[in-house]
């Protein structure tokens, strides 16, 4: 949240390390990096855009060229088209839907513009040079293990486990749910009820309020996204319920503060960090300049990088707080 006076680590993207290790950050040939992402209708996406821009600004050799963020596929295609026409040196694309933008990404690649695919993946490997994103299935697994283990330890049998998804039509949502289900299965548990929200605070409130009516006794809730989580927590507070615990997703600073305070139902969150956008810009720059990653042995940037989904609890929250994004 923007108005949390106490918090505020300057930027979510850690400053580039000094150019000691092999000169990755040393100024090189000038690159224009085009950037296209969905409209910032929730905190995570807003953080993506902000991180990308902040990182680009740190390099004197990078010219950052963002285009209109939009949730209309058709318009995003046009936006990317315009970047191709402008002959940018590299593209960073977080598509609204990887499959639907695949064709235009492929066109860019074919035109010789390296594409760094962020988060939602293009199905065609010829469409991008490098993919960097989170592990959605892994997120579900992490949440499933945390909930499964906690309940097992408490000795609960037949627990009521609820799941509040984000936007149901996104493939990543389905991956998360699959991971969650698979992990719970190892404890012999399953999801009692599942509803989807829209990643927004308000939808979180609405869905949670109704779910709590449907289930008079709940053991655990996994909520896919910490932005809508603000709304979920508000609904919980309003209903005055506390018999269950909740796990979040993505890892917003706000969620971490809640976990740290340990006064509500939120006990953990599984990360899906928008810092990936900062990394994506760095990768795009390196690729365009023909450099490799100085910490690795290889001469080129790897073809894919999957961030691990980590579980943040009261015990390790301090370590993560600086990386948490303000939703």
């Amino acid at each position: 949240t923007s108005n949390e006076p106490a918090a505020a680590p300057g930027t979510a993207a850690p400053a580039p390390a000094p150019a000691a290790t092999g000169g990755n950050d040393a100024p090189g040939q000038k690159v224009v990096i085009g950037f296209s992402a969905p409209a910032a209708d929730h905190g995570w996406i807003a953080a993506i855009a902000k991180n990308a821009e902040a990182t680009a600004k740190q390099y004197s050799d990078v010219e950052f060229k963002p285009v209109e963020p939009t949730n209309d596929i058709n318009a995003q295609i046009s936006a990317v088209e315009s970047l191709i026409a402008a002959k940018v040196g590299a593209l960073v694309i977080l598509p609204n839907d990887g499959q639907q933008l695949n064709q235009i990404a492929r066109q860019a690649s074919d035109a010789g513009i390296p594409v760094v695919n962020l988060d939602r993946v293009f199905p065609d490997k010829l469409s991008y040079r490098t993919w960097i994103g989170g592990d959605n299935y892994g997120m579900g697994v992490a949440a499933g293990h945390y909930i499964g283990k906690t309940l097992k330890d408490k000795g609960v049998s037949n627990p009521v486990i609820l799941e509040i998804q984000g936007i149901a039509t996104l493939p990543l949502t389905q991956d998360r749910s699959k991971g969650f289900e698979d992990a719970l299965k190892t404890y012999g548990f399953s999801v009692t009820a599942r509803q989807d929200a829209q990643f927004t605070v308000e939808s979180g409130t609405r869905v949670a309020a109704n779910l709590m009516q449907a289930h008079k006794k709940i053991d655990a809730i996994w909520n896919h996204d910490d932005d809508q989580g603000v709304g979920v927590l508000a609904a919980v507070k309003e209903a005055g319920r506390s018999e269950f615990f909740m796990v979040g997703g993505a890892g917003s600073a706000n969620a971490m503060r809640e976990i740290k305070a340990d006064t509500g139902v939120l006990k953990a969150t599984v990360t899906y960090s928008p810092t990936m956008a900062a990394s994506a810009i760095k990768l795009a720059r390196l690729i365009a300049q023909g450099k490799g990653m100085s910490d690795l042995v290889e001469n080129g940037v790897p073809q894919s990088i999957t961030l691990a989904s980590e579980t943040i609890t009261k015990d390790n929250v301090d370590k993560y707080l600086p990386l948490g994004f303000e939703s």
């Binding site: 949240t1 923007s2 108005n3 949390e4 006076p5 910032a40 209708d41 929730h42 905190g43 807003a46 149901a168 009820a193 599942r194 509803q195 989807d196 829209q198 927004t200 605070v201 308000e202 979180g204 409130t205 609405r206 869905v207 309020a209 109704n210 779910l211 709590m212 009516q213 449907a214 008079k216 932005d227 603000v230 709304g231 927590l233 508000a234 609904a235 507070k237 309003e238 209903a239 005055g240 706000n254 303000e326 939703s327």
Partner: protein
Amino acid sequence: MRPPAGGSTPVKAPAAAVPAAGSGPLARLGITRLGEARHLGLVIALVLLAVVGLVTVPETFATASNLVSILSLAATIGVITVGMTFVIIGGGIDLSVGAVMALASVWATTLATQSYGPFVMILCAVLVGTGAGLVNGLLISYGRLVPFIATLAMLVAARGLAQRMSNRKTQLVQQGNEMIVELSTTRVLGIPVLVYVFAVVVVLGWVLLNRTTFGRRTYAVGGNPEAARLAGIDVRRHTVLLYALSGLCCGIAAVLIMARTTTGSSTHGDLYELDAIAAVIIGGTLLTGGRGTIIGSILGLLIFTVITNLFILNGLNTSDQLIAKGLIIVVAVLLQRRSLESRT
């Protein structure tokens, strides 16, 4: 399409004024504008939904806490619906309601505003809402823009402004201003304060529409603006007031959404305009203006809210919810029509 123009010139005096034969008490009610009998179809639809609830989820549906929950959900958009009812009866439409509510919620939760405490926050939300409504009204009345376009422009601009002010972040209600949040958590007689606010707005709206000159003039301005003008009503000024009223309702709704979600956000109220308009129209208000009731709108809204509640209680997924919702809308309106026709 519009209904065909009414029949031709009829009877000389005595016969004309007396309603046709076969008119029972219901028909007589229907003749007066206030006749609540016109809502029969909506009430039937609601009762049917309740029966479905009682049969499918007997242990949860009819509990007090579920009913309270339904009302809490309905409250925010309900307040907006009251304003929308006025605007539509007055012959207009307001597409900007959701965005204006979002803007008001954001403005009221900036750190600067919050530093003055909860009352200033409330005042701020209400003023921002009313101000945006005023701009709508002025554009429409004096700029002579079509309401659809003027309020669409306001929708777009208000969302943009809200994003800009909030930096696209969700703004939490700060410590010290919990009073706002308590509107939703504090209960009187088991009912959250926010539901009372909703009720008060509905009652005030009803009184304003049915018992005051303002209400009369709203019907006149929407039903026949030229006649209203000839009767000495300042149609333009009244139009401005109608949109300001709708904006005021958005401001109040912003307070409620802040209470419920503990936040102000530029994403609040997405697509509220469609829901509110749909509720008003299902409630029997004509999009062409001049006719309609607050009670109908609220019943229409409750139908929507109960449907959502039932679906979630039954664990249906969104896709099925949507399909069923489409069907239920059609059935509710057909029922409504049937019940109106059986009276004539």
